[in-house]
Amino acid sequence: MKSPTIKNDMFVMLIFSAIILSMPIWLKPLGAGYPDLLQKFAIFGIFAVGYNILFGLTGYLSFGHAAFLGIGSYTAVWSFKLLTMNVFPALIFSVLLSGLFAMLIGFITLRRSGIYFSILTLAFAQMFYNLAYSVLTPITNGETGLQLARGDARIIDRLFSDAGEGLPSTNFFGLEMSGYSGFYVCAVLLIIAFFISQRIFHSPFGIKLRAIKSNQTRMKYTGYNTRPYLLTAFVISGMYAGLAGGLMAATDPLAGAERMQWTASGEVVLMTILGGVGTLIGPMLGVGIIKYFENIFSSLNDQALLQAYSFMPDWLANIMVTITSPFVGEGWHLTLGALFVLIVVFLPGGIMEGVSLIKKRFSKTQANTETGKS
């Protein structure tokens, strides 16, 4: 629990950046080195790191963050349609607008805590989702989802060139947002996002948020007005979600309302707790694991399973296929749900808790052997 020094933080940042930027290299042997998946890692990483600032530090369990993801996506696509295919302004708008909505929703929902807060955020997310499918169709294009069209205005782009044949693609000042260059843009943003989150974690502000989680009553009688603290955390995490949503649209310019469904909020909760709520690196770990296995599991089918079990005798392989097939392919969500239950039951602190448990045990046995020697 010693407060980490600045030097220490810098070191962690360096390692983190190196790991993220070299992902295309070291994930290749694992079969996950292709740009689409890498982009997903980075984007969901931003989402989860931001969510952790709220849930991890203050303990407020929001089921509404998918709404901010959706707002970010729609905003970005509109920026592509109306202004320019450059993602820079699109992302700025995404972050600002989702931040604005977060402030509004947070202002109302943070009047309550505990399960009431969870249900209020859920109610707001459902409202946005329902509206996106009904009244807001002119903005969201309903079930089809918001897409680019050749005839879009793109005012800024038009100043420099005429509309070309076919749909233009998104770019970051000329850098393509698809493929590896797209990943690097996302990765750099993730690193910045992580850096900010680290600063918050180790700031007086961050520790006050932790204190609110630990005992909000005490905070009030200690002279703190807790609501602005909570609202700030809520808005920041909403902006992170907006950035992630904007990036989703930037790498694949399509925004659909299903991104706003509350199960999407559930997914980010799962990623955060799987890695370790309230730890800096945990949410990123959770994202990596879930997105990696989602990629593998959802592409598996019975045929592939049979191949995987080919070393077994036929009858055993068949049984194994029958047992495992509901969990793969379409059934990936079943695996996800089961994982959710198992983690909460057995390892509520997530993987990071597991790591620290092992570390503790290891250092204990080491200490024992040392005392044994002397």
């Binding site: 303990g59 369990l61 109302i108 009047r111 309550r112 805590s113 505990g114 399960i115 009431y116 969870s118 249900i119 209020l120 859920l122 109610a123 707001f124 459902q126 409202m127 329902n130 509206l131 499918y133 009904s134 009244v135 807001l136 509350w262 199960t263 559930g266 909760v269 799962l270 707790i273 509901p326 379409e330 059934g331 969500h333 079943l334 996800l336 749900g337 089961a338 994982l339 959710f340 239950v341 909460v344 039951v345 509520p348």
Partner: protein, 338 residues
């Protein structure tokens, strides 16, 4: 006038379903202190009890179709029909109401397994953890159903005799043209009956009174005696049965699909919050109230004034209630008010 009358009926119907789910939710929350996000899944499982029962009754044999003579045609004929003829046909026709007999033990069993296997270990954990674990469980249950029954809604028709509409308007002096589906009326009566049954159980039996005392004051739960754990299991099982039956009876109105549980869950949580966490009367009142409100909001005249209101009315009400009167309509002061 006619339209308003029908909307009230519609609202009461929907409200009946909300009230029944909210009742189970409140019962579990009030006594066991558990926030159960898998409660909607119980509603869905109940609806699928009727699907399963229908499938069981119509297990068929591949037989030659005698009605077609000029070539060999085959059709599937349910064994029940082969064995019992017309009586078999009638049984199949009545599969939804008959499945109640099948659903009660099944839902009870599901409830017991859920409580013993998982929920029990979360009595002492935080609400956030309860929400998380039951949320995961809800996903698991719904995905299992999806892999067994597919993603599409499965129609489970009501018995022929009540598949038409009743000339209910005559009763209220509104004229012949005001008609309402029989089954929806039956659902209304059914939900009223179950609600009355639950309240009778809670008010007239000793066990029920202790449960109510426990809901008044969480510390009184100790009054449940030495066998607290067993009693908790019974309460959970009871809630599972009530919710399951609500889903089962709803299946002719809304063909069951795997995600109906989640849809109803969010709504019924809102109902519970509006009614007042831990208040059974509040849950029922709010259920019917919100059902009617939603029906009115979905009238074209209303939608013309405020577009989209039908989609968000319930949530809007919840937000307003939570901000203005945090303990809900009938909630008592101090119960989970933070």
């Amino acid at each position: 006038m006619d339209a308003i009358f029908l909307q009230i009926l519609n609202g009461l119907d929907k409200g009946g379903a909300y009230a029944l789910i909210a009742l189970g939710l409140t019962l579990v929350f009030g006594t066991l202190g558990v926030v159960n996000f898998a409660h909607g899944a119980l509603f869905m499982l109940g609806a699928f009890c009727s699907v399963t029962f229908q499938k069981l009754l119509t297990i068929s044999k591949h037989v030659k179709d005698e009605s077609i003579t000029f070539f060999d045609a085959f059709k599937d004929q349910p064994y029940l029909e082969i064995w019992f003829g017309d009586f078999g046909k009638t049984i199949i026709d009545y599969s939804v109401p008959l499945s109640i007999l099948f659903a009660i033990p099944v839902m009870l069993l599901i409830g017991l397994i859920m409580e013993r296997g998982l929920i029990r270990h979360f009595y002492k954990r935080t609400h956030a953890e309860q929400i998380l674990v039951t949320f995961g469980l809800a996903i698991v249950l719904q995905e299992i159903v999806k892999s067994m029954f597919g993603a599409n809604p499965i129609p489970t028709p009501a018995p022929d005799i009540v598949s038409g509409s009743a000339h209910i308007g005559v009763l209220f002096g509104l004229g012949e043209s005001v008609v309402y589906p029989w089954w929806r009326l039956i659902y209304l009566a059914f939900s009223g009956l179950v609600i009355a049954g639950v309240f009778a159980f809670l008010n007239l039996t000793t066990f029920g009174m202790v449960v109510r005392a426990g809901m008044m004051d969480r510390e009184m739960v100790g009054m449940l005696g030495i066998d607290v754990e067993k009693k908790f299991t019974i309460i959970f099982g009871l809630a599972a049965v009530v919710t399951g039956l609500a889903g089962l009876m709803y299946s002719p109105i809304l063909p069951p699909d795997y995600h109906m549980g989640m849809d109803f869950l969010v709504l019924s949580f809102v109902v519970v919050v509006v009614g007042g966490m831990g208040s059974l009367g509040g849950a029922v009142t709010a259920g019917f109230l919100l059902g009617i409100l939603q029906s009115f909001a979905s009238m074209n005249e209303v939608k013309a004034i405020i577009p989209g209101i039908d989609q968000i009315i319930i949530y809007l009400v919840a937000v307003v209630i939570l901000l203005v009167r945090p303990r809900g309509l009938l909630g008592r002061e101090g119960v989970m008010e933070d």
